[in-house]
């Protein structure tokens, strides 16, 4: 049997802020973010590596945080939806999702915005096909995807014109 009370000490930066915690090995990153750090903007959807609602950036790469153990994020830099807004200003991606009606219930939105963020960091001027491919791991069950594609395209244009890369 495993040692029932094994705790592993982890140190990681979430939205720029350093956190140190002792965690059980089976604690999932999404639960760590939501329960330990109370960052509930990251959602749990399917909990089976399908829907992408739990997407966050880990060292700049989009990951499904329901499929990463918190212990694996030791030393990592995590960005959640709470980290997008800076000094009361919405991130261009957040603004574009609102302006383009790229959401209805909003459940999938944080995950979609983080996948979009990785795309736009890697490619400041993605075409339609690249946008579709980048969010193929994010499921939306109400808006449909047209306005989401439009939002990402709009955000890309806004970021290019402001010279913003992240």
């Amino acid at each position: 049997m495993p040692e029932a009370a094994q705790k592993v000490s982890i140190h990681l930066r979430v939205n720029g802020k350093l956190h140190s915690r002792e965690v059980a090995p089976r604690l999932l990153l999404v639960e760590f973010l939501r329960e330990d750090l109370e960052l509930t903007g990251t959602h749990i959807g399917c909990d089976t590596t399908y829907c992408g609602a739990c997407t966050v950036l880990m060292n700049g790469a989009a990951v499904k945080s329901c499929t990463v153990f918190a212990v694996q994020a030791d030393g990592a830099e995590i960005t959640t939806v709470e980290g997008l807004e800076k000094d009361g200003e919405l991130h261009p991606i957040q603004k574009a999702f609102g302006d383009c009606y790229g959401l209805q219930c909003g459940y999938c939105t944080p995950g979609l915005m983080l996948s979009a963020l990785q795309l736009l960091k890697d490619n400041s001027n993605p075409n339609q096909k690249q946008i579709r491919k980048a969010i193929a791991g994010n499921t939306c069950r109400c808006t449909g995807y047209q306005n989401i594609f439009k939002a990402i395209d709009t955000a890309a244009a806004a970021m290019r014109s402001s010279g913003r890369g992240d």
Binding site: A4, A24, P25, R26, T48, M58, V63, C66, V68, A136
Partner: protein, 297 residues
């Protein structure tokens, strides 16, 4: 959903990982990208008592061109292969890496983990069977190198001993007059394919000098279509002959009915995929740039 409780070990070298495996016995499993293992643990299909995390070992993620071969580190993520200029020299590798699941899974999942898991619906084994591929396995007593076809034993079963791991994957770069393509049919991006086909074709003028055809998701292991290959080898390539490769694939497939489709449906599907993949492989063998994409239902 939570997996059963387990004890976590963080290896700082591959050598340490195999030592820990041999000390802890059968209840210990390796954690690579975790994109299959963690979901299986959450569903309690897999219940390891100990997990040995390989993700903190430096120098295990690379694509290196060396002596006419590509060397892949065991923890090389699919996304890194998708971006690798060295891997781009072999287009079928790019078809595979870029088509696995979605952005998030490709950022975590590894080529070594995919081969070691040997899921019958996995992509890498099917693709690499059409190339000359060696799997290097490391244990406490040293290294051995196995041909991929000898490494794969059965569904979810490889030649790896309990205390061995995949330490490197070596793929020979095909000659200049060779081209390959990999096409999968998928219901959506995040799921495994319903069926898939990999074809690597070498031409000499308008003749087929050599060909390898492998089918994925239609058997317990990827299936080589030996009869279809033999029918094309040495022959002048015609649409009719390509059609016959599809027929041979249908005959060689051994699919199961499941939620992805009936056995008969998959049999028909895999024949069509072989035909398309062969056509794309032929164009690439002739030096044409052809973009190949999976087909989404």
């Amino acid at each position: 959903m939570y997996p059963r409780a387990f004890t976590y070990h963080r290896a700082s070298s591959l050598k340490e990982a195999v030592t820990v495996l041999s000390q802890l016995g059968e209840g210990a499993k390796l954690l690579a990208g975790g994109q299959s293992l963690i979901p299986l643990m959450k569903l309690r299909f897999a219940n390891p008592v100990h997990l040995v995390d390989l993700n903190f070992i430096s120098g295990t993620s690379y694509v290196r061109g060396q002596d006419g071969a590509l060397h892949f580190g065991p923890l090389t993520r699919h996304a890194e292969i998708e971006k690798s200029a060295s891997a781009a020299r072999v287009p079928i590798l790019l078809d595979c890496a870029a088509g696995i699941a979605d952005l998030q899974v490709r950022n975590r999942g590894t080529i070594g983990g995919s081969l070691a898991e040997a899921d019958p619906s996995g992509d890498w084994a099917t693709v690499l069977l059409t190339l000359s591929c060696e799997v290097r396995c490391a244990g406490i007593s040293g290294e051995r190198s196995l041909k991929l076809s000898d490494f794969l034993k059965d569904a979810y079963t490889t030649a790896l001993a309990h205390d061995e791991l995949v330490s490197e994957i070596v793929v020979k770069v095909p000659s200049g007059n060779s081209g390959g393509a990999y096409i999968a049919f998928k219901r959506t991006a995040p799921v495994y394919p319903t069926a898939s086909a990999a074809v690597q074709l070498t031409v000499e003028g308008d003749h087929c000098k050599d060909i390898a055809i492998a089918l994925g998701c239609v058997g317990l292991l990827p299936i080589r279509v030996r009869e279809g290959e033999a029918a094309l080898r040495g022959q002048q390539i015609t649409p009719k002959l390509i059609e016959s490769a599809g027929d041979a694939a249908r005959a060689a497939a051994d699919p199961q009915s499941d939620m992805r489709g009936s056995a008969e449906y998959k049999r028909q599907l895999v024949g069509a995929l072989v035909k398309r993949a062969t056509e794309a492989a032929l164009q690439r063998a002739r030096g044409q740039q052809v973009e190949v994409s999976h087909i989404y239902a």
